[in-house]
């Protein structure tokens, strides 16, 4: 997979993508209504996976009905952290740049949205300049200005009021944390953040203290959305955000129902990304996943907003009777077990490797749901959607090859090298609210028993994940030698995925994600090289190298490169998955057939 991020190549890519989209569209026109289930019918298995299904059948109008079991953590663009929420936010919020409205890897490339073009990068990659498009407006018809963009971004500093969201921009633009945030800002216009300048209403300039090669990817994310000061209801903003996109909030009751209607002040001409097919978009929240799946199958709803795959019962029914309505995308998540080095005997690399060799990888895959619903056996730690990933081609422990059922002999050898020839005892920590993770823990337990490693499974309160396994002291105290987790990229680069997991700087007393407690100068150095490297090819090379270093350390036992089985309602048109949102359907341009 090649992604092109430098300026000149990006333009070419745009042209190529446009051509590809046009070809696909024609193909859909020509071929529509024959072998793929017919007009108005389902498009076929995997028809929308990395390609566009039934683009030509999308009509203006109608109500697009989402169902879900999990509401967004917040619909406030600054506070949301769920991938599906970012995806959905594109309906009512625009950013300077955004992911392309195209399938697969192309979707992860940035394209101008509010801005007229992608950034003009100067000053050795430390200055980014954008000009805003004409005719971009808020839901009350007033123009969106560069100051609104700046204010929207500044809200990220107000963590005391607006907690929960990512803080990438804050970390990059103000690493020392000098700016107090807009609500405590002494300057009268509340635009005191020095790193962003707004010389006029159309221009915005970002001055980075140090270059970061992923900066524009960050600006393409929902948390870089503009917010207008006079409409900022602070902590309550998520209950009714003020729209800059084609739809606006009509009503919202958390955990119950959300309805968006057309924003009459949004102009198609001002927006190169959004098609805005439906008239109305609704989200109904369920508490019973089996019930929701059945209602999706019955056609009461068009798709699942959570995009985390159907539950086992619904999946089986759908695979048997409605295969044409399913897509099987790669989610961008890696599911794995990680070995904290602070817990003995996992301070010894050989004991870690003993677990890796002792595990039955195929059984772990089955526990995750099998090759289709669970994913391919994970052989390394970089998810396939991240540039520089090699997928199953890089398999240092033969997990998908000869040793996929585990290798008892090698495991015993490693145990000997570790000084524990008779095995040892340890504890697996697993979230109690993820039955699939408990199933993988049981699989691991069963296979490790064969090599003499005796594990106890401890199910902890999944709501307190960050408090329990995010506290290295607690992990050590409880003796969690194996932690079962999963991780997906916030944005698909090695920085957006691996920095908090593998960089020694991210070993925190509380809210830690570097569970393995990796403190490796080489890995830290590679990350430092990565953020200053502007050449795409070299960035990929560094990503690959980081992945190799992590795998060689034996810190992780990957289970699967996760895949989902997602439901695509028969009435949906112009459907495709995008790497920008971890293999979810790109919500913003979904249309209805009738």
């Amino acid at each position: 997979m090649i992604t092109q991020r430098t300026k000149g190549r990006r333009k070419k890519a745009v042209a190529a993508a446009a051509l590809a989209a046009a070809l696909l569209a024609t193909a859909a026109c020509g071929g529509g209504g024959t072998d793929d289930g017919g007009e108005g019918g389902a498009a076929g298995f995997d028809a929308a996976n990395n390609k566009v299904a039934q683009a030509s059948e999308a009509k203006k109008g109608g109500e697009l009905k989402f169902a879900g079991v999990q509401d967004a953590d917040s619909w406030d663009t600054t506070r949301g952290y769920y991938g599906f929420a970012w995806n959905f936010m594109r309906y009512y919020s625009r950013t300077l740049v955004t992911g392309k409205a195209e399938p697969g890897a192309k979707g992860a490339e940035v394209t101008p949205d509010l801005a007229t073009s992608t950034a003009k990068i100067t000053n050795d990659g430390k200055t980014y300049t954008y000009t805003l498009r004409d005719g971009v407006t808020w839901e009350d018809g007033k123009p969106i200005t560069s100051k609104d963009v700046k204010y929207g971004i500044e809200r990220q500093w107000a963590q005391d009021v607006l907690s929960g969201g990512p803080v990438y921009l804050k970390d990059v633009l103000d690493p020392k944390g000098e700016y107090p945030g807009p609500y405590k800002d002494k300057s009268p216009d509340k635009l005191g953040l020095k790193a962003i300048e707004t010389p006029d209403d159309k221009t915005i300039v970002f001055n980075l203290p140090a270059a970061n090669s992923d900066f524009e990817d960050m600006l393409g994310m929902a948390f870089a959305s503009p917010v207008r000061q006079d409409k900022d209801t602070k902590s309550k903003y998520g209950l009714k955000p003020f729209s800059s996109g084609p739809y606006k909030f009509q009503s919202y009751t958390p955990n119950k129902k959300l309805v968006l209607v057309r924003n009459e002040n949004w102009k198609q001409a001002s927006d190169p990304v959004r098609k805005a097919y439906p008239d109305k978009i609704s989200l109904t929240l369920f508490t019973n996943a089996n019930d929701m799946d059945q209602r999706l199958i019955n056609g009461d709803y068009d798709l699942d907003i959570n995009q985390t795959g159907m539950s086992p019962q619904g999946r089986t029914t759908a695979l048997k009777e409605h295969k044409g309505n399913l897509d099987n995308p790669v989610s961008g998540y890696v599911r794995y077990a990680v070995f904290p080095q602070t817990v003995k005997p996992f301070d010894n690399i050989h004991c870690r490797k003993a677990v890796i060799y002792g595990a039955d990888h195929e059984s772990l895959q089955t526990a995750r749901g099998g090759p289709v619903a669970g994913g391919d056996i994970g052989t390394n730690m970089l998810p396939p959607s991240v540039p520089g990933a090699e997928g199953q081609k890089y398999d240092p422990y033969d997990m998908a090859g000869a040793d996929k059922k585990g290798n008892v002999a090698k495991a015993k050898e490693e145990l000997k090298a570790c000084g524990q020839p008779n095995g040892f005892k340890t504890t697996i920590a697993v979230r109690n609210n993820k039955p699939v993770e408990v199933a993988t823990a049981e699989s691991l337990q069963a296979s490790l028993k064969k090599v003499g490693i005796d594990v106890e499974i401890d199910q902890y309160d999944g709501a307190q994940t960050t408090g329990i396994i995010g506290s290295p002291e607690n992990v050590k105290k409880k003796g969690y030698g194996i932690i079962i987790m999963g991780w997906g990229p916030d944005f698909p680069t090695v920085q957006g995925f691996g920095l908090p997991l593998w960089n020694s700087k991210y070993i925190l007393e509380s809210g830690n994600n570097n569970f393995a407690m990796i403190d490796d100068k080489t890995i830290d150095g590679l990350f430092a090289d990565y953020v200053t490297e502007l050449d795409e090819a070299k960035k990929e090379q560094i990503s690959t190298e980081i992945n190799h270093k992590v795998m060689e350390g034996g810190y992780y036992l990957p289970f699967v490169f996760e895949k989902f089985i997602n439901w695509r309602g028969s009435n949906l048109a112009n459907v495709y998955t995008t790497d920008n949102y971890s293999g979810q359907y790109d919500f913003v341009n979904l249309g209805l057939k009738k």
Binding site: Q313, L319, G369, G370, E456, Q459
Partner: protein, 336 residues
């Protein structure tokens, strides 16, 4: 099968206890005590359904005790994974009826292919132990405190009643989830699953007693004003005497019913606790745990639901039949 009850029972003697009071002497008591027990046993022996229930309960207990022997006979164990028997696409067992075969008489579990028969047999240990003992805890606590509150009244009643109200109103789930994070691994000389079972029995019993307590209190309230209690009192019977000889026998019916009805609820509560991480640790099997994981396969592998469901049903039915029999046999006014 027997004479309908509304047939006036002329030969029914006055309550045995009443007679004892009237007789008032140690000698009378001894005679009555012996014959009451024998009468009850004679009656129970004649009640075929109750006996069947009792035998089934005994068989279940035997199965639980002999779990390793039984599974050895079949050649299966509850923890070995048989992923080769699972359809990788659907995660359900290959073959019909949940993978029932000669090797696996009850089929295998979805996802990991563990033998369902072995897990049912081993699960009986956890489910019966937790189901029975926690019901016992709840009933003992509930009866004692309920009778105290109902009979003595006053401030004692006020305190016990308010505690019961408080426990009923309390968000138990919050308590249980909080318990997940402070669950010790060792206590009172127990380790691992032992601790878990002990804690579960306590928790389920503790939150269950107010239900029994309130019913018993209500009954006691109304019984203590009855004529025969008045009579006993006027004859100078002591409070404790009245409590144990006059009131308790009349509370037996609702208590037995309550106990038998609590068992299935407790077995299912055990599942919920295990599911949340407070109960038995995987891969230990329990009926409730099997039933709650069967929810994801209710249509694609219904046998996986039917088998633990039937196990619970049979246990409860047997216990109810037996309980009814015991109740009838002990009933001093009964005609059988």
């Amino acid at each position: 099968m027997t004479a309908p009850l509304h047939e006036p029972t002329a030969e029914a003697a006055p309550s045995a206890a009443e007679e004892a009071v009237l007789a008032g002497s140690a000698e009378g008591k001894a005679v009555q005590g012996r014959s009451l027990g024998r009468i009850a046993w004679e009656r129970l022996k004649r009640d075929k359904l109750a006996l069947t229930g009792g035998i089934v309960v005994l068989v279940l207990i035997a199965i639980a005790l002999l779990a390793p022997v039984i599974t050895n006979l079949v050649g299966q164990d509850p923890e070995t994974h048989h992923e080769d028997l699972i359809d990788p696409l659907f995660s359900t067992p290959k073959g019909s009826l949940g993978g029932i075969s000669a090797d696996h008489p009850f089929g295998v579990e979805p996802v990991n292919g563990r033998d369902v028969f072995a897990r049912i047999v081993y699960g009986a240990r956890i489910s019966l132990l937790v189901g029975f003992l926690s019901a016992l805890v709840a009933v003992v606590l509930g009866t004692v405190l309920g009778v105290l509150a109902g009979y003595f009244g006053g401030w004692l009643d006020a305190v016990i009643s308010r505690v019961m109200d408080g426990l009923l109103a309390f968000p138990q789930l919050l308590f249980i989830i909080a318990l997940v994070s402070v669950m010790p691994n060792e206590m009172l000389g127990l380790t691992g699953t032992g601790v878990r079972i002990f804690v579960m029995i306590l928790v389920i019993g503790f939150f269950g007693w107010p239900y029994v307590g309130r019913v018993v209190r209500g009954q006691t309230l109304s019984l203590r004003e009855r004529e025969y209690v008045e009579a006993a009192r006027s004859l100078g019977a002591g409070r404790l005497y009245i409590l144990f000889k006059e009131l308790l026998p009349n509370l037996v019916a609702p208590i037995i019913v309550y106990t038998t009805m609590m068992i299935p609820t407790n077995i299912l509560t055990e599942a919920a606790l295990s599911f949340l991480g407070v109960g038995v640790k995987p891969p230990t099997a329990s009926w409730g745990q099997m039933l709650s994981s069967a929810i994801d396969y209710y249509d694609s592998d219904p046998m996986y639901m039917v088998i633990p469901g039937l196990a619970i049903f049979i246990t409860v039915l047997a216990f109810n039949l037996f309980g009814d029999g015991v109740r009838d046999a002990l009933d001093p006014k009964g005609s059988r």
